[in-house]
């Protein structure tokens, strides 16, 4: 099998500064674009498609902010070469809602205080979506594990866990639970006002 390099049918030879022609599906819509060939999926989404809902906090796979679904799997868009997205299908936070209706996860994140600064939120939402698609009734531990690739510096995670559990309930057809609130001393027993 030794021999000279023959022209390969699938070779996409891009000399430096050449552009990449990329046709793929984003949030259910066919997109066809030309971008710099070194770009990652993250960069194409944000810079070439204007889908800035996908965030970035390190671009090295160390924070999880850029997570999207690619062919239904949770991946980090900062480590996916755009050239490898040819013909594939990506879902970003912009693709979560169903027309005017928010996804139950989006409602739950809004109601349970799961989005504080909101910067990790898109990645968290997609990680949670990936979880609920295979595990409709997740335990607390399964939720924590499913979100363990997304750093949040604001919430301490617990309200995010609550929101995912609440969304799962809604998606199972149950009533949306009310957000869990701090106890107020004096309203829960012996701690009176003064």
């Amino acid at each position: 099998m030794a021999g000279p390099l023959v022209p390969l049918s699938a070779v996409r030879a891009s000399p430096p500064r050449d552009k990449l022609r990329l046709a793929f599906t984003v949030n259910g819509e066919a997109r066809d674009l030309v971008a710099e060939s070194y770009k990652t999926l993250l960069e194409v989404l944000r810079e070439d498609l204007g889908l800035t809902g996908t965030k970035h906090g390190c671009e090295l796979g160390e924070c999880g902010a850029c997570a999207v679904l690619l062919d239904g799997e949770l991946v980090l868009s900062c480590l996916v070469a755009a050239v490898e997205c040819q013909g594939r299908s990506a879902t970003t936070v912009e693709g979560l809602r169903d027309g005017p209706r928010l996804h139950p996860l989006q409602d739950a994140f809004a109601d349970h205080g799961a989005a504080q600064c909101g910067y990790c939120t898109p990645g968290m939402l997609l990680a949670a979506k990936a979880l609920l698609e295979r595990t409709p009734e997740p335990s607390r531990d399964q939720i924590a594990e499913a979100l363990s690739g997304q750093i949040c510096r604001c919430t301490g995670y617990l309200q995010i866990f609550d929101a995912v559990a609440a969304a799962a309930q809604v998606m199972r057809g149950e009533r949306a639970p009310a957000p869990k609130l701090p106890a107020i001393a004096g309203q829960r027993g012996s701690h009176g006002e003064d």
Binding site: T52, Q116, G189
Partner: protein, 842 residues
């Protein structure tokens, strides 16, 4: 229930309800536009050339090769920025690009502007900088020892930036008479904010002729001032936009070099210029928690009363001033506001080192001494055989009193906080009873609800809110406040909506834009809820008055009988008689013209008059207490936090969902600091290299807790309305962090009876303590510092009046004005000696 002007009580309508925050939809749909989400046609990208040496003179910068790159549009260097800046007027020591000297690895030297960010990045590697190396100062001890070369040419001599010495009573005498004196050294490692959003700036010349800088900043007003100064442009022609930020925690409160350079680049190229920092560069912006070495001495009576307390702190400030002077004072200022102390002595010293500058991180300067104090109290209680929870209850500062260092305490929820976590955690039946390897620890704390003074001296309000009521019934609230993620936009909407009796979504908030709203000093020192909230209430009440007058005329009732609620304006005596809120706005507009009102807020004057009394005063102090339960593996020293109980004196919760988020987020960050977060540096063997580099400038290796590392948290609120707060509210964004590190340390002691007097409490330190005969890990010594002559300020109960007895009698700054005008705020009470009831001698 709230008192209405009519004298009756009515339930709050939106306040205290777990409503979805007004900016929630943007955040969960990804539509919120953070700074780096902004783009403009023709936009250029900028990258900075940063110093690769820790300390050097710049001999030359050759930009020829970089300029020659295809796609490069400009290369900027330090001579374009001769005017220095800095957050504090006393330390204007930063340049947008270093003109002559670099002071740490990461200091910016040049900037490349190109059509693509990658082209700019590649071209930065073609900028040739030649350096003349200078000796590297790597630690505060070294800074004390080595006076030359100086990193900065200002400060208190050599490489000492700032020294403070304050004596509130004769502490050595008090200690000499104490039944027990405990002395400890503590070390609190530096750590950084690590907001998930990396700083980004987009600068452009607006079509309105204004240089516009949209940037991740918690303090648009201070950036406004710095940009005007450095760029030499009238501030009226500069507009700062602070888009919502992806977290700040104090890391975006300084004006930054990259913001000013981007603005200059936009001016030079005539095109929009964007810079988006990498994570590593964010570590170089830093301004995070100072590493602080402390020595504390506390003298107590047999029954546990503190007769004297002394704090010495040594801060590693990094290469620039930043907030450092304030940080230095803060390592001592709030030591007195939790427990009664008859006398207090503070010595603080900040040094310059060749590292990224430290500054304010959540709790600014106070978590370090709080750690020391709370751990030392635990040790004292152990020695005296006292329950440390009960001790905190017994020794709490009383309400409406003055502290030894002249801070005015108004409401204080410390005791109920301690009682709440004691009860919830089952403290009384579990403390010291959990058996080997498992333990409970308690700590309490306090924090400001806004600093009493602005960063630069002025007599204007600290914040303003402007309301526009339009005929539709919609209300627009304008304020310069910066939404960091904490929910300040929601506070604004809630305060306005509550006063006017409308839905929060009927309030459109316009914030974070110096051209579109009154100044708010920024999202720092936990000031926004209290200060902006008060301004919002004032503006809304003025609007309410106008509407009430018009509605009263229409309804033919006395104005006192006009009520607001449910989107209606009505007769409180006959609620069916009334009108829609929009109709009331229209009546008011018809009667008196466009309905617009303003409100503003300035904190009350503090009683301290001595030099340094400006750091520490606040309109109110929040209080927190925490119990932490840990498991410690004696074979490895590994510490696992099982559960945290946190109680917080909130005054009034404006939105309990958001309050919970701030409490749990504070606990989370406190646990990170307690267990693993470290802004650590690496020095290579000096015989081989001068390098001094950040050890872990990445999300992966700067360890912060991920989802699986979080313990369960039980949050409890203490609601006792604070008269100085809007609807009684206090802060919650920073306070609940403070008790966490010491509570963890105290819990580790309960579990395995070793003391780790150092943060973070990593397994190697626990193991070392377990193997040490002293059963302790921590610093043993405090270096000699050439302390200046202390200011002698007698505590209120020793006949003082708030002045130092050994400095020229200081009068109100406003009275020292050279223009002769009395600038005293008429709302302030005249300077006075404390009332008898405030003097509660411990």
């Amino acid at each position: 229930m709230a008192k209405t002007e009519g004298g009756g009580e009515r339930p709050f309508q939106v306040l205290g309800k777990p409503l979805r925050r007004v900016d929630a939809i943007g955040k969960v749909t990804g539509e919120t536009r953070f700074a780096d989400d902004l783009a403009m046609p023709g936009m250029l990208h900028m990258k900075l050339v940063r110093s690769t040496v820790p300390h050097a003179r710049i001999r030359g910068v050759d930009v020829t090769k970089a300029l020659a790159c295809e796609g490069v549009r400009a290369v900027l260097t330090g001579e374009l920025f001769p005017i220095p800046f800095g957050i504090l007027p006393v330390s204007q020591d930063e340049h947008a690009l270093c003109p002559d000297k670099v002071r740490f690895v990461g200091d910016p030297v040049a900037a490349v502007v190109a059509t693509e960010e990658l082209i700019a990045e590649e071209a930065t590697r073609l900028v040739e900088v030649s350096y003349e190396p200078l000796a590297t100062i790597g630690s505060p001890e070294e800074a004390l020892r080595v006076a030359e070369p100086r990193i900065q040419d200002h400060g208190d001599g050599g490489n000492i930036h700032k020294m403070v010495a304050l004596d509130f009573g004769d502490v050595p005498a008090a200690l000499a008479g104490a039944d027990l004196v405990v002395e400890d050294c503590f070390f609190y490692q530096g750590n950084t904010h690590l907001p998930l959003e990396q700083h980004a700036t987009l600068a452009y010349m607006g079509t309105d002729g204004r240089l516009t800088i949209a940037s991740s900043t918690q303090t648009p007003h201070y950036l406004h001032r710095a940009a005007a100064k450095v760029l030499g442009i009238p501030a009226s022609r500069i507009r700062i936009i602070a888009p919502p930020q992806g977290g700040g925690f104090g890391g975006k409160t300084d004006p930054f070099n990259h913001e000013i350079v981007a603005a200059k680049a936009a001016l030079l190229t005539g095109r929009p210029v964007k810079i988006a920092l990498t994570r590593e560069e964010v570590f170089y912006c830093h301004r995070g928690r100072h590493p602080v070495l402390m020595r504390m001495r506390t003298g107590v009576t047999r029954d546990g009363r503190i007769v004297g307390h002394s704090v010495e702190s040594l801060l590693d400030g990094g290469a620039y001033g930043s907030y450092g002077v304030a940080s230095t004072f803060y390592t001592g200022a709030l030591e007195t506001v939790t427990y009664q102390m008859a006398r207090y002595q503070f010595r603080g010293c900040r040094t310059f080192t060749n590292k990224p500058p430290c500054g304010p991180k959540r709790g600014h300067g106070t978590p370090q001494p709080r750690f020391g104090l709370e751990v030392q109290i635990d040790k004292i209680c152990e020695r005296l055989g006292k329950d440390p929870a009960q001790w905190r209850i017994d020794n709490a500062v009383p309400a409406d009193s003055l502290t030894a260092n002249w801070l005015k305490i108004r409401t204080i929820g410390l005791v109920p906080c301690v009682e709440a976590v004691v009860e919830a955690s089952g403290w009384k039946s579990r403390f010291r009873k959990l058996g080997r390897g498992r333990g409970l620890g308690i700590a309490a704390s306090s924090y400001l609800c806004g600093a009493g003074l602005p960063i630069y001296w002025n007599e204007m309000p600290h914040t303003g809110v402007q309301l526009l009521l339009d005929r539709s019934g919609g209300v627009t609230a304008f304020c310069g406040a910066s939404e960091v993620g904490q929910g300040s936009d929601n506070v604004l909407a809630v305060c306005v909506a509550e006063v006017l009796g409308i839905d929060i979504l009927d309030v459109k908030v316009v914030t974070g834009d110096t051209s579109l709203g009154p100044v708010d000093l920024g999202s720092y020192s936990s000031r926004v809820t209290l200060m902006m909230g008060n301004a919002a209430v004032e503006a809304a009440q003025r609007a309410r008055d106008r509407l009430a007058e018009a509605a009263a005329a229409r309804l033919d009732i006395a104005v006192e009988r006009v009520g607001f609620g449910g989107g209606r304006v009505f007769d409180v005596g006959d609620p069916d008689r009334g009108m829609a809120f929009a109709d009331a706005v229209q009546l008011a507009e018809a009667a008196g013209g466009t309905v617009g009102t303003v409100g503003s807020y300035r904190p009350p004057r503090a009683p301290g008059r001595f030099k340094g009394a400006g750091v520490g005063p606040s309109p109110s102090y929040s209080y927190s207490a925490a119990v932490v339960e840990v498991e410690v593996d004696e074979a490895t020293g590994a510490v696992r936090v099982v559960k945290v109980w946190i109680a917080h004196d909130i005054g009034r919760a404006l939105n309990p969902v958001l309050v919970r988020g701030q409490m749990e987020g504070s606990v989370y960050m406190g646990l990170g600091e307690a267990l693993m977060e470290e802004q650590a540096f690496r020095r290579l063997p000096p015989r081989l290299s001068r390098a001094l580099v950040h050890q872990t400038p990445s999300m992966l290796e700067y360890k912060s807790l991920a989802s699986r590392d979080m313990p369960e948290i039980e949050s409890i609120l203490i609601e006792r309305p604070e008269p100085n707060g809007p609807f009684g509210a206090k802060e919650v964004g920073q306070g609940p962090l403070l008790p966490i590190p010491p509570a963890v340390a105290n819990a580790v002691y309960d579990a395995v009876r070793v003391r780790v007097d150092e943060v973070p409490i990593t397994p190697d330190k626990v193991l070392a303590a377990l193997r040490a005969t002293s059963r302790r890990f921590g610093p043993d010594t405090f270096p000699a510092v050439p302390w200046p002559e202390p200011l002698i300020v007698p505590p209120p109960w020793e006949g003082g009046d708030g002045n130092a007895t050994n400095e020229p009698r200081r009068r109100d700054r406003s009275e020292r004005r050279t223009d002769g005008r009395d600038g005293r705020d008429p709302r302030d009470p005249p300077p006075r000696s404390p009332r008898a009831e405030e003097i509660v001698k411990p």
